[in-house]
Symmetry: C2
DNA sequence: CGAAAACGTTAACAAAAGATAAGGATTTAA
DNA sequence: TTAAATCCTTATCTTTTGTTAACGTTTTCG
């Protein structure tokens, strides 16, 4: 996947939030960097401060915690989505989890420093603030739904819902990661699947 | 509680995100409105589009869903916090839950229309965008922690943690609301409390 | 290619949570 | 003030989940 192709994907992906004019894009694109993660390679590990927010041009990652020596996968991001250890990135605090590529993954990255630079750049500030706001607001809405699911639905209902709304990820992600994501154990998910099949 | 007192509380509360200069504040404060909710009065009900984002100058509210005729309380907000049905407010879609005062509650409110007006106001735009961004980012961090708790902790662990970090809300909120917030039934919370006391 | 690792299912048992109902204490409101 | 509503606890029973381990299959990688 060549650089120009990644940049294009990035620009299209951003259009969901803000559209940049040519002159703005000119500046912004000079503040990007690029990286590739091999499968199982980590984007960030516990204890490090996250220095980049990324756009996934290709591939996918999982977010996981380690608790009592066990990995617990809490989330996934795939191509055309943004990805970062937000809290660490935003607050400049050590990250408390891990982000790992589950496939070969191509990233377009903005360093924290470059982002600050753009937020202070007279020609870009307003649009970058808006971009940041809209991205954050978008994720708030996602989180709202996720928390609501934990509050109002049983694990079985959460599974059924996921199957309806994102069936494709079952082809792409090991089932025990999905179990974690639903807040249950892999064994329990296996049972739920059997139950819901029989009905 | 008089109006000036509410405005002051609001200004101090905002300082956590952005500080407004006198001339900016002059304009902003003309875009505010005020309201009082009596105990059990609703700020918003299911199906309505939320038109205000609020600052709670005094009092508190709970957010709840109705599922199978049952109320399930998912969150609380108290004085000096912001409060809104964010997703509905941001996306202009019908709200899917209820927000109800649990005490007599004093609000400072910004209507969606006034917010847009300020976001388009040349002297205020940048700061309002930043304000919106920082608020949203702040809530993302809160949500991140909340989801992590659901993923990595048992109900009992979530309860213990809550007792450590927010003991005060137990004096202020009926226990069955807290049970919902933890993702369990009131009966189950009562059992957990007994268990953890004995140990 | 072949050994090792990863993965999903199943079983058996223990632990926890849900559902329902009852009882007593407290609060609310007419 | 008194009846009604709210709230928390407890008990009982059912359902679900967690835990551990075993097994067969598939995938990974040297």
């Amino acid at each position: 996947m060549d650089k120009q192709c990644k940049i294009n994907a990035f620009r299209i992906g951003l259009a969901q939030f803000v559209t940049f004019e040519e002159n703005e894009w000119e500046i912004l694109s000079q503040h990007l960097s690029f990286s590739t993660l091999k499968k199982k390679e980590h984007f960030i590990v516990e204890g490090k401060v996250c220095d980049y927010m990324c756009f996934i041009a290709r591939g996918g990652v999982r977010y996981y915690h380690i608790k009592d020596g066990q990995e617990i996968t809490g989330y996934f991001s795939f191509e055309n989505e943004l990805m970062s250890a937000y809290k660490s990135f935003l607050k400049r605090t050590p990250n408390t989890n891990y982000i790992q590529a589950i496939e070969e993954t191509e990233l377009v990255m903005i360093s924290h420093q470059n982002l600050q630079h753009m937020l202070n750049h007279p020609l870009l500030a307003l649009k970058m603030e808006r971009f940041g706001r809209l991205v954050a607001e978008h994720y708030i809405c996602c989180y709202e739904d996720r928390v609501t699911a934990f509050i109002t639905q049983s694990p079985e209902e959460r599974y059924t819902m996921l199957e309806k709304t994102a069936k494709d990820i079952f082809q792409r992600i090991p089932q025990h990661f999905i179990a974690n994501f639903l807040g249950i154990t892999p064994v329990s998910l296996s049972r739920i699947r059997k139950r819901t099949l029989l009905q």
